[in-house]
């Protein structure tokens, strides 16, 4: 039984979600900005045609957007997440094994489908997703995940394929692989491209023709895997069960700039509150937290970027411990005279609390803390996030200086009853 995978993903996914709910956006250039309205993270074909690059900072394209009538949105992850969930529900009708790879991409197991019928199934899948959710997609099919990803790229850039590319057959791979530059191959980043260039590798076909041992020498075991995968020998399987999270981070850019320690500690306390929620939601704990903040590369003032790691005597997911540690870490590396633009908390090596060592001296009162955290989470789940929080995280009046901006966010059309679309007469 030869394996077969499909990779389906939304075209300009965030922009397409916005278009479902506002018919006036059809054929107009639309872009969606990253958190804090920093840079363009999604662009429709019309916006790409105007020369707006992926990741372009907003201040470099503001004039262009005004002049050309580009519609600009802040990111609305609540909406995109719900649309993504709907799409994956549709995929479940077509395949029993699905790996949700990211908010807009999923791998489907196509192994049970007869090779001759896979492209047709891809077309059915596409049209069902489009009819039911309104989001246009592309489907790539291949005997390995790497080839499915490559097929998806071909489908995206070749309109006459009508959104589906099938690299199941050797003939199809012989035809397409020599036409694809290195950067199109999943897992080959800039550094690897440079290394492969020295061997005269220019296309996906050149990589497939490499000696696997040589690939292993230059690009480690990852490179060797890519060679096998491009030849149609699967080395990467479907991950239908999400792996235990290994790390967790909460970072935000400030809407303005932060220049006082009090304000910085308040922002970090709020991040710590969110980090605690995330850890408890996944049933994980940590024995350290890394605090960092830095100035903006776009500001003219003096620049500074610092971080410090605070260790705990034992693993915990107690918000109050995280808040205390974040504030203490911030004080340790604080220096005035800078205009900080971003701060965050990171943690790696997460553990399940029941498997962590208990501290010999000053152990945390886990029973008491556990009950308090359950109550805290229950309140926030019932009443909305951020209703109950440690006072250290600041109160609304002061928060304005550092909370994330959502100036141009569309309504949360599918998840809030008071934000659903209004349909009138026309």
């Amino acid at each position: 039984m030869t394996r077969s995978f499909a990779l389906i993903d939304g075209n300009s996914f965030y922009c397409s979600c916005e278009r479902v709910f506002d018919p006036r956006l059809r054929r107009r250039p639309v872009i969606v900005l990253s958190n804090n309205d920093g840079c363009a993270v999604a662009r429709t074909a019309e916006a790409k045609a105007l020369g707006i690059k992926m990741g372009a900072p907003m201040f470099t394209i503001r004039e262009l957007c005004k002049r050309e009538g580009v519609v600009v949105f802040s990111s609305n992850y609540t909406l995109y997440g719900d649309m993504s969930r709907r799409m994956n529900t549709v995929y479940e009708r077509f395949a029993s094994d699905i790996e949700v790879y990211s908010i807009d991409e999923s791998f489907l197991d196509m192994t049970p489908v007869a090779p001759g019928q896979r492209a047709e199934m891809g077309r059915d899948l596409r049209s069902t997703v489009s009819t039911w959710t309104g989001v246009p997609t592309c489907v790539g099919i291949g005997p390995t995940k790497t080839l499915a990803k490559l097929a998806n790229k071909i489908a995206k850039s070749t309109p006459q394929l009508r959104g589906v590319c099938d690299l199941t057959s050797d003939e199809a791979r012989r035809e397409w692989l020599p036409l694809l530059a290195l950067e199109n191959v999943w897992g080959i980043g800039r550094a690897s491209q440079a290394k492969l260039g020295t061997f005269g590798c220019k296309t996906a076909a050149d990589v497939a023709a490499l000696d696997p041992k040589l690939a292993r020498k230059t690009l480690t075991v990852v490179g060797e895997r890519i060679v096998h995968e491009l030849r149609g020998q699967p080395c990467i399987d479907l991950e239908t069960v999400a792996p235990t999270r290994k790390g967790c981070a909460v970072t935000r850019s400030f809407a303005g700039r932060v220049e006082s320690l009090e304000m910085m500690q308040e922002a970090l306390a709020a991040h710590a509150t969110r980090l605690g929620e995330k850890l408890r939601h996944h049933g994980l704990a940590t024995d350290h937290v890394t605090v960092f903040f830095h100035t903006s590369p776009f500001d003219n003032g003096p620049s500074r970027s610092v971080s410090t790691t605070v260790d705990f005597p034992e693993a915990t997911n107690d918000t109050l411990v995280l808040v205390r540690s974040a504030k203490w870490g911030a004080r340790r590396i604080w220096k005035s005279g800078y205009r900080y633009s971003k701060a965050g908390l990171m943690t790696v090596d997460l553990v399940a609390p029941e498997f962590s060592q208990r501290a010999l001296i000053g152990p945390l009162d886990r029973e008491k803390s556990g009950r308090l955290m359950v109550a805290l989470d229950a309140c926030n789940q019932k009443l909305g996030r951020g209703v109950v929080f440690p006072a250290a995280a600041g109160i609304a009046r002061q928060k304005k200086a550092w909370i994330t901006k959502f100036d141009m966010r569309s309504p949360r059309y599918t998840t809030r009853i008071d934000e659903v679309p209004v349909v009138g007469k026309a």
């Binding site: 018919p23 959710t133 599918t414 009853i417 659903v420 007469k425």
Partner: protein
């Protein structure tokens, strides 16, 4: 002691009487899940969107100003269905008509003039209206 961790809520049947060694409640064997209106209103969840109605252009088919509607994109419109439709980039509610293989759109309000989108109008049906919800005593 394990720290408590919140997962998704789990709905358990509510037993009508405390468990005691004694005579069991005759209702225990007949427990049902509570009525969930969304199951009645939403046949196909990934394809269904909720909207609010503005205006009186569909009152003849019982769709009133301020009502919520559920709109299912997976259904093929049939003659007489209320549909949400995009005409030249404007979204509205119309009645779908089909006779002798020719389809057309109409207002759902007799006091309105006949609906004419014009010859080269760009028309695209967003979905079929499947239910309305009117709330009294807000």
């Amino acid at each position: 002691m394990l720290p408590a961790v919140l997962g998704p809520p789990i709905f358990l049947p509510f037993y009508l009487k405390a468990v005691r060694a004694g005579f069991p409640s005759p209702a225990d064997d007949y427990l049902d899940a509570p009525i969930d209106l969304s199951r009645t209103l939403i046949q196909n969840a990934p394809a269904t969107f909720v909207m609010t109605v503005a205006g009186d252009s569909a009152i003849d088919v019982g769709i009133f100003d301020g009502s919520l509607i559920t709109v299912d994109r997976s259904l093929l419109p049939r003659d007489g269905d209320a549909v949400v439709v995009d005409v030249n980039g404007e979204r509205s509610i119309k009645i779908f008509r089909i006779a002798g293989g020719r389809s057309s759109l109409a207002f759902g309000n007799r006091r309105y003039p006949d609906y004419d989108p014009g010859r080269d109008a760009q028309i695209e049906i967003f979905g079929v209206v499947t239910n309305t919800v009117r709330r009294f005593r807000r």
